[in-house]
Amino acid sequence: MLEKILNFIFLRPFRAGRAMKRFVAHMEGELSDEFLETLLGLMGLVFCLSPEFRRNIEGFSGIYVFRTRDGAVAASAVFSNGRLKKCDKAVAGADIEITFRDGRTLMDFFFAPKPDVLTAMLKQDITLNGNLNYLYKFAYTANHLRLKVRELLG
């Protein structure tokens, strides 16, 4: 009940709808420096709105840092207490740091039909520092979100 009240107060459904539109635009190829923020933002909102989706992060804590080699993009996702908090800079103490070749590679990775960690590593599109299992989990969550969005859009 409290969750529903908070969702209403913070206009989360409305914000999720807007984020979803931006997300879909990125899925269809529109590149912008804000796409990672869009992804993390939408993910965070959906975690609030969907108990089923939130189950993926119940009891889970982890810090992800995403960046591009040229430094144009840097963002962190902090999971704790069933929430995702996004930061627009690298946070210390990351469980995994993922460095992408460039912004396009980062976007292609997350919005590909399926995020392929191993191919990205083979092609040197990403380099990693940290616990690879965290990336696997994140890739699953992002892919799951993408499939859900497609499902919702029909």
């Binding site: 392929d116 960690v117 191919t119 380099t127 616990n131 299992n133 499939l147």
Partner: protein, 854 residues
């Protein structure tokens, strides 16, 4: 001593028409679709998470987990196979090992069932269980992450790996591995890759082995000395008892279930079969086997039990024609079975060995695509006394292989040209022609010497068996971990060419800038740069392997598997702690031929002829020869090629490619053998590649041998396709490599477009070529008997070639399951006309990987 009593070694009277059971089972096997099975993952995770703690002693803790799974393993009967037991809960299952490779499919949980390449069905419910219950437990506990945390722990490194603490930092090896284009650290996904021995369990039953472990434990307890070594041994013996008891419970559950099913079965044949299976499982594996059916079922149950503890990769049953022969002989002599019965029982085992596959992410299908679990069976050769070991079962197993033509087991025929009969040699050749690709031939004369050179006794060396693809082991005596390192030699070459960088990794200096090759004054200077890079990469790969090995020792012992080896039970020491009689780690190398040819091109074109400068060469490579077509044509067609030049008697005048091939194999042997693994054994260099030569080829730039960027390398130790037009010269060149420098095994892939099995001349040429190659000194040879045109047709119309089996590089795969790059690589392998010994011209539609573009 050889004992062949069969009237017809070809067993022509026995076909799938006369053995409809095998036909039915085979059809079901070939058409089965892979399904993910989480039963093992669930039980193992449940035990470790809920029924034990991280502070429990690891040997008994892990044995407890394995026993818990086996005790609760579903006793299932999917078909009319004569043998009880299944690897998974699916007819054709891919078990999940979350502590090893299982986590790699986490991103694909929603899509693995429908992916393009080799989908594996996963139910939504199982996907949820993996996502919410199983994988979260292993996030910090799977072997790679555990090792990574230890690398970052200075106290752990100081205590366990003090030699690896240096300026570059111990994490360098892990970072290199995570690039995936320098070497693969096999232990991140598995050890397995060994040949256990079933003799003890067949003769004494698990009850006998458990009693032995109990007695050893009791003796140590009675000793009373409170030393850590005793405590470790006691724990090991307890763990063995726990793990093996789990197998007995599984067998009893199978027996009970079979009996229950028999009661309600209406079909008389099925009722009888279930009743018999129930009876078999009430005896084996707890008690000694008394007949062939019990012996075979015992072996199968142990195989499934081993996979409860160790991942299903190349866990190889060994010399089954030798191990099972006493039971066959007794049954036949006493009139208990017929030859037909024996064929059916062996056929059922062959089909059971196909009941599981590896769970891999889609990308791995690109690298290793189409591989089964590669359990290798070895037949023929000599016995421990050095005498002909071929017997009736050898021919029975050949006939079964010929009839069934399944991907697994990976069949290997040992051939001793001084002791085995020509009749046997030619029969193996016939089976290869009839199946199109199996079995592989292994040279007893050289293989035995290779193993003796590694410190094995002559008797143990003579008893060798093949692991997985081509690696050599003494079954139940050597713990070989033969896939520990898979090193990309071309990456080393590129590091030398680009002074510590590779095109695929961009501007990053990966290793060290040992020197600009343009400043080399002679070929020896460049070889020196190459050697420095090679030593650097090998050092890092060995370092990571030893760290991973140490991690296995701490969290993933193998008490169950240890029970089937000589050594552990005497020493009270798990295999992972060096309990086996012989210990080693395998380091295989990818891109051998391309590297040798590139060295030869540099030697001759740059330094001897001075036709191009190094700067010009590098410029052309960076451009992928665009604008440098004449240079490419020269490098392709005028430079010495490995396989196209035969060794000569005088060491000082060896042809260039022969010299470079000898240099490289010798260098790798000495570097690898100079390293010690975490079990006190040596590293054994090998040359088998699975499909890495295609996958790594995609990541590599153009090379001095004229190869274009992104093209597949040559497989195994095989010369580059199109490089050698003369079969005899090719056989001499490859056979002339020093065998004792290849203790890990080699894969030499040859193709004939057609062999007329009804032409005695053709068959004689086939067998004679193998023998000639072995007399030159070659270790191994395997074939694809298929033309360019047929393979092109199979590529274009896969629906018409659903069951086309091909030999990849040490294992067999269905052509339809291979990725496009691998299909092309197999298509463009040089095909030799057996009559003329000349390479067949490529059809116009083919552009082999290394011929210049038109």
């Amino acid at each position: 001593m050889a004992t062949v009593t069969l009237k017809d070694i070809r067993l022509q009277a026995y076909t799938l028409d006369t053995m409809p059971l095998l036909r039915q089972l085979r059809d079901e096997c070939v058409n089965a679709k892979a399904e993910v099975c989480i039963e093992r993952a669930r039980h193992i995770t449940e035990y470790l998470r809920d029924k034990s703690t991280d502070n429990d002693p690891i040997e008994t803790r892990y044995a407890g987990a394995v026993a818990h799974f086996l005790s609760n393993k579903s006793p299932l009967f999917f078909d009319d196979n004569l043998l009880s037991g299944t690897t998974t809960t699916r007819h054709f299952g891919a078990p999940v090992y979350p502590e090893l490779t299982g986590m790699t499919i986490w991103p694909e949980l929603d899509t693995i069932s429908t992916r393009n390449k080799n989908p594996q069905k996963l139910t939504a419910e199982d996907a949820k269980t993996l996502n919410f219950e199983i994988f979260p437990y292993w996030m910090r506990r799977n072997i790679l992450e555990y090792a990574r945390l230890k690398i970052k722990d200075p106290e752990w490194m100081k205590k366990n790996m003090p030699d690896y603490i240096h300026a570059e930092g111990p994490a360098n090896c892990l970072q290199l591995f995570e690039r995936l284009v320098f070497f693969i650290a096999g232990k991140a996904g598995c050890i397995s890759h060994t040949v256990p021995s079933y003799r003890k369990v067949l003769e004494r039953g698990l009850g006998g082995i458990i009693a032995e472990a109990a007695e050893m434990e009791a003796r140590l307890r009675a000793d009373g000395r409170l030393v850590k070594e005793n405590a470790d041994k006691i724990e090991f013996y307890r763990a063995v008892q726990m793990a093996l008891s789990g197998i007995n419970i599984y067998a009893k559950n199978l027996s009970q279930k079979a009996a229950e099913l028999a009661l309600i079965e209406k079909d008389p044949w099925r009722r009888e079969n279930l009743t018999r299976m129930s009876a078999v499982c009430s005896v084996v594996p707890e008690k000694p086997a008394r007949n062939l059916r019990e012996a075979v079922n015992c072996i199968w149950l142990i195989q499934t039990a081993i996979h409860a503890e160790n991942i299903n990769m190349a866990m190889s049953p060994g010399r089954l024609d030798q191990i099972l022969y006493p039971y066959y002989r007794k049954d036949i002599d006493e009139g208990n079975i017929t030859v037909r019965d024996a064929l059916e029982i062996i056929g059922c085992l062959w089909l059971k060995l196909n009941d599981n596959t590896n769970l891999v992410p889609e990308t791995a299908e690109e690298l290793y695509g189409g591989a089964g679990t590669v359990p290798a069976v070895t037949i023929g050769g000599v016995d421990e006394d050095g005498e002909d070991a071929v017997n009736d079962l050898t021919y029975i197993m050949l006939r079964v292989t010929e009839l069934l033509r399944t991907r697994d087991p990976s069949m290997n025929a040992r051939y001793h040209y001084l002791k085995n009969s020509r009749q046997y040699r030619d029969r193996v050749a016939e089976v290869i022609v009839n199946t199109g690709c199996v079995p592989a031939f292994h040279n007893d004369v050289i293989d035995i010497e290779v193993l003796k050179n590694q410190g094995m006794t002559e008797e143990h060396a003579r008893d060798y068996a093949i692991i997985g693809c081509v690696e050599l082991a003494s079954g139940g005596r050597s713990y070989d971990a033969s896939s520990s390192i898979m090193l990309n030699l071309v990456s080393v070459l590129e590091l030398a060419l680009y002074n510590g960088r590779r095109p695929v990794t961009g501007d990053d200096v990966i290793t060290k800038a040992f020197g600009d090759p343009a400043r080399c004054r002679g070929f020896e200077d460049f070889r020196d740069l190459f050697e420095k890079q090679l030593r650097y990469i090998i050092d890092e790969a060995v370092k990571l392997n030893n760290i991973l090995g140490r991690a296995y020792q701490e969290i993933m012992p193998s008490p169950l598997l240890s029970a089937f080896f000589e050594g552990p039970m005497d020493r009270g020491r798990d295999l992972i702690h060096g309990g086996a009689l012989y210990n080693s780690s395998g380091a295989t190398h990818i891109g051998f031929a391309d590297t040798v040819d590139s060295l030869s091109a540099i030697q001759q074109a740059v330094f001897e002829e001075k036709r191009f400068s190094f700067d010009e060469l590098i410029e052309a490579l960076k451009a992928d020869f665009k604008g440098h077509e004449k240079m490419q044509a020269y490098l392709m067609n005028r430079m010495p090629k490995y396989g196209a030049e035969a060794p000569v008697d005088s060491a000082s005048t060896q042809p260039v490619s022969v010299g470079n091939a000898a240099y490289l194999t010798g260098l790798l042997f000495h570097i690898c053998q100079g390293h010690e693994n975490y079990r006190g054994g040596r590293y054994k260099p090998a040359y088998w590649t699975m499909t890495n030569h295609a996958g790594q080829g995609k990541m590599s730039g153009a090379l001095p041998n004229g190869r274009h960027a992104g093209k597949a390398f040559a497989s195994g130790i095989t010369p580059v396709s199109g490089a050698t037009r003369d079969l005899a010269v090719c056989l001499k060149a490859v056979g002339g490599l020093k065998g004792i420098y290849i203790p890990g095994g080699e894969a030499f892939n040859l193709k004939y477009p057609f062999v007329d099995i009804n032409d005695a001349g053709d068959m004689d040429r086939f067998g004679s070529a193998v023998e000639a190659y072995f007399r030159y000194g070659g270790l191994h040879i395997q074939f694809n008997i298929m033309s360019y045109e047929m393979l092109l047709e199979a590529r274009a119309h896969p629906e018409q070639y659903q069951e086309l089996l091909v030999r990849v590089s040490g294992y067999s795969a269905y052509f339809r399951d291979l990725n496009d790059a691998m299909k092309d690589e197999i298509i463009t392998r040089t095909a030799y006309d057996l009559g003329s010994g000349r390479a067949e011209p490529f059809p116009e539609s083919i552009t082999p990987p290394n011929l210049p573009l038109p």
